[in-house]
Assembly symmetry: C2
Homo-oligomer: 294 residues x 2
Amino acid sequence: MAYQIIDGKMVSEHIKLQIAEAVKQRLASGLKKPHLAAVLVGNDGGSETYVGHKVKACAQVGFDSTLIRMDEQVSELELLSVIGDLNRNIDIDGFIVQLPLPKHIDEQKIIEAISPEKDVDGFHPVNVGKMVIGLPSFLPATPFGILELLKYYKIDTSGKHVVVLGRSNIVGTPLALLLSRKSKPGDATVTICHSRTKNLSEITLQADILIAALGNPEFVGAEMVKDGAVVIDVGTTRVPSQETKSGFRLKGDVLFEEVAPKCSYITPVPGGVGPMTIVSLLKNTLLAADISKK
Amino acid sequence: MAYQIIDGKMVSEHIKLQIAEAVKQRLASGLKKPHLAAVLVGNDGGSETYVGHKVKACAQVGFDSTLIRMDEQVSELELLSVIGDLNRNIDIDGFIVQLPLPKHIDEQKIIEAISPEKDVDGFHPVNVGKMVIGLPSFLPATPFGILELLKYYKIDTSGKHVVVLGRSNIVGTPLALLLSRKSKPGDATVTICHSRTKNLSEITLQADILIAALGNPEFVGAEMVKDGAVVIDVGTTRVPSQETKSGFRLKGDVLFEEVAPKCSYITPVPGGVGPMTIVSLLKNTLLAADISKK
């Protein structure tokens, strides 16, 4: 069967152009550039890379960005103090604290210290709650990015059976919520599966749209996928590789070669969902700037 | 097949005794009685009844209660001012504003004005968000009551397929979340169905536990239910009746006579989920009092 690749790289570039255009219009009407700040604690390789991408993306669309580096040994109190400063800084529209944080810091406490109006990661309980209730809020990056991909490719979700593998607070659970509610994309019948699910294949075989967000490399094989399904692969596990300069490569949750031929649409890894998450962050930051009318 | 009735009336009385005992222990340790306030706007018959039950239940377990009646014509500003008073009143541990409110009042604005620490209905976005994230919060009454019923009857949900009919913000959606997450009861594979779901019977027939929260009287017939399933009926639609003094009777979403023989457990209407909702409110109020340590 001929399948179509969902090209997240291309869609993300397309949306970045739209954002850059919106920034130009802001400047033309005398408003300032949106400004995103990122707090990076310690020197984790993955976190360095992610934050680097975010800073670069800001430059691409004409945002200001500020990177605040803090030592691995920083105390919770010092970090909270920096967050307080960012909350009060009227030039900063939104900011993120790159996770994970060192073990001696209470992540949840940090998340709740971020002003909900600047919480462009959408992790604060107020934003999570507003999302569930269906009120305007900053949507978490990965689910938001997936909704954008579904929209871009005009993949109809209404009345479709969506099966979500994984129940994390930042991907699986919010996606299940967003796709089940009365909205567009949305209005789907949604099943949430996870490590305790029995007869998993029986359920995934019912999926018109299968979303794999387990973080379990190449877990989804062809025998789990219905003919003609849309498959969205959220997995990005770093596995060692001798073929790349970095010494690793990203593997998705889906065995692409064997699953793709059964699909109508499928996201590759890398280049599928990944590039969309940064675009979500940019969209949230633009929204934060627009709301604060600066 | 022999089915067991899930007797919400009995379980609710049992839990009320536990709450009354906790109140006695509070008094013995020099703490005050928990105090619930309810704001009732206008004279809607259903609302009058519900609030009346809540006030009576407070008396039963030894709580103080305050009923604040406001005229149907009250302005949003006046209502917000009363809420502000209740937020500041240190003698009130928790309070509710009985919904629905008259059309000229913005319900969401009212809900968000309630201090999350006193929001014993669990409707404030902060409490909804905390629930989703898995943090301690006031759970909404009906889902909380259903979890208590599952616990009381030792109905195992882990790895079971739960199908929830209905995606409301106060029942279907929070129930789906609570039952899918890593907890007890919980750890279930959960499917959320609603008005846009196609081939509904195919899905409900897979349910080990079927939860009907559509508000559509007698919608679920025997042909939709798997042998041995647990059926929880959340529906309580008032239908006119000449057999009752009140002129109406409550109908559930399940055609009880025909479905019950297929079930392992089933809730009746009335006397199933209904009586548990008030118990949830009492439990939340006790929790609010315990947290504030008064």
